[in-house]
Subunit: 371 residues, 2 copies
């Protein structure tokens, strides 16, 4: 499923010249950046790392894991992402997650949603592949539940192995029948070693059935304030302790068998049962709904890229930490913050999630030029 | 449900520095404006206040009630608005009201509409959360009315307490069954102390059943010329008297138990049973349909912010009047007029409602910079 970074570059002498010059440009850019040159965001970040040893080296991580564009690669190798979400009520959230993945640089982005939600999500953008296959209780008879559940899971299963990462939760809703089907999809993704990012109503599901993710080192949970509170209450059986935010997050991720948790907040905190990192590069003060969906789609892409990077490096990894789920969280959080900051500069209080998505590309390009 | 202005700013020294500098900037800007500096609109307004003692001090009100953006706030604290409207015929009106709320700075905007209207309203923008739950007579059997009515009201009721303000009416239509359900929703909002802005077909409903809003100090009615005429005929049992427009509006609002009325016209007049204020800052001569929907969504946001402001001030309120429903009307009317004026400068006769909405953000930013 994964293509190693740069592995295909050697297939012909012409390609080699082309891609090695692209690689050289990237390396020169990296060296300039590491030497302290470049733009103000990098300086800001450097200062943060001096004052806070837990602050992640987000920009260098973004540069390291973002794959070079080279002419030998073909469709799909820069990432195939799928979002499980979208129901009668919610259609914006899965769209935001799926389109963000494409805007960052993934090649293909799928959405698996209910029949009601599909035409609407399709209408937002022709760039997405939308599967109208989930079902909610109101649309099925009691006697059909088992048959329909099997059919839904089989439909997703046909595709599952092709995906580099699954995002479960944006606009999923809380219909019990639908959530039962999604539980089966989560189990199947785990059997196939497909990484999974869980957000929104997906977190409602796994908080109540923590065994769905417990011990899955390829799972990422991305709770906001309220979702984190419920997770701590359920798993640690206590209240959130902001005096020891890092320690408590570490305990929580350990208790869920070393899954990676990205706790969203003023600073985003990330733990995987071993380490804690923070991302606090300046974002925006606007708190419009939908930014969490951008984050889940972004983490999915960067997590996939980080896995490719780690596999290609064959033990010679130049960045720390080295857990691809943590790297994905750091990169996703930092990019969202930068894009939100640029959108806010332009739109101020009227900044909406769609405006932020329009700055994802520029934000990544500023940090890590495509060529 | 409400978060006091600035209450969270003191949670850490870093936050305090950040937010206090933002507050200081806002204060300096206010002082400059009060000293007569700043832009031409303010001068125009000053002249208006000299010539018309009833003219509201709209720009200072906008500055006072618009909350500072600060890093400790989270999603939802800048406002959660819901629009009840949207049926087989009308889909634009609820969209205009709901998207205007977001463009001004609310965090979340919901629409509760009929099943037919939902996919269309959703397709206008992924930023809205659209609930397809209202029903019209044509789609239900006579025997199902009671059951379906109960289900519709229960569906809205699940959400009601979370909202800072409800807008009832944009694109609601006049289907008798649907209006019966909406009557129940209005009663329930009142029981829960959720403020309500009534416009369009919502005014048709409450004009015929005035007890739905009578005596509700958290209710705002926003009639246009014809809606005002019907209201005067029904409640005061006479014709509109433009020779004593202020006095008649005051009588009308008194008679409906001190509800706030915003009478739209050449100058917008606002009364709450005690005082009358006018907003006549220059707008646009274009009278395209939909501007009333912008107004209802805007009043909802500013009313919520004014309530937060008044609660946080704890008796130390620097502006007059102090009724949050009146403040919301003044701010909403003034902002719409400014945005309409900017849109008209650019688009002239071809100005549409969507063009005006695009200027809401800039109009607020000109008066009250975000940072």
């Amino acid at each position: 499923m994964f293509v190693k970074h740069g592995m295909n570059q050697l297939s012909s002498s012409r390609n080699f010249t082309l891609s090695s010059s692209a690689v050289l440009r990237r390396q020169h850019f990296l060296i300039r950046s590491l030497a302290g040159g470049g733009h103000s965001n990098y300086c800001t970040l450097n200062r943060m790392q001096e004052t806070n040893p837990l602050e992640a080296d987000a920009e260098n991580i973004l540069r390291a894991i973002t794959p070079s564009l080279d002419p030998t690669r073909h469709k799909g190798q820069a990432g195939k992402i799928a979002v499980i979400g979208g129901c009668r009520e919610y259609t914006g959230a899965p769209y935001f997650a799926a389109i963000s993945a494409l805007k960052i640089g993934a090649d293909l982005s799928h959405v698996f949603c209910t029949k009601d939600a599909a035409p609407v999500i399709k209408s937002y953008s022709p760039e997405l592949i939308v599967h109208p296959i989930l079902e909610e209780s109101y649309s099925i008879g009691e006697g059909d539940r088992k048959y329909i559940s099997g059919k839904v899971v089989a439909e997703v299963d046909k595709w599952l192995e092709r995906f580099d990462c699954l995002v479960v939760g944006p606009g999923l809703g809380r219909d019990p029948f639908l959530l039962d089907c999604v539980s089966e999809i989560i189990k199947q993704a785990r059997r196939l070693n497909v990484p999974i990012v869980v957000d929104g109503d997906g977190l409602f599901l796994v908080t109540n059935s923590i065994e769905l993710v417990s011990g899955n080192s390829l799972a990422v949970l991305t709770p906001n304030v309220n979702e984190y509170k419920r997770l701590v209450q359920k798993v640690l059986n206590c209240e959130v302790n902001d005096q020891d935010a890092h320690g408590q997050l570490l305990s929580l991720s350990k208790r869920i068998g070393d899954v990676t948790i990205l706790r969203k907040g003023k600073a985003d905190l990330i733990a995987d049962g071993e380490i804690v990192k923070s991302v606090s590069v300046y974002g925006s003060l606007r708190r419009c709904g939908g930014q969490g969906d951008i984050l889940s789609g972004s983490v999915a892409v960067f997590l996939s890229w980080a896995r490719q990077y780690i596999m290609a490096a064959e033990g010679n990894v130049a960045i720390r930490p080295t857990n691809p789920t943590v790297l994905g969280c750091i990169a996703g959080a930092a990019l969202l913050r930068k894009a939100a900051s640029l959108a806010f500069e332009n739109r101020k209080r009227s900044t909406l999630t769609g405006d932020i998505i329009e700055y994802l590309g520029k934000s990544l390009e500023d940090i890590c030029p495509a060529c």
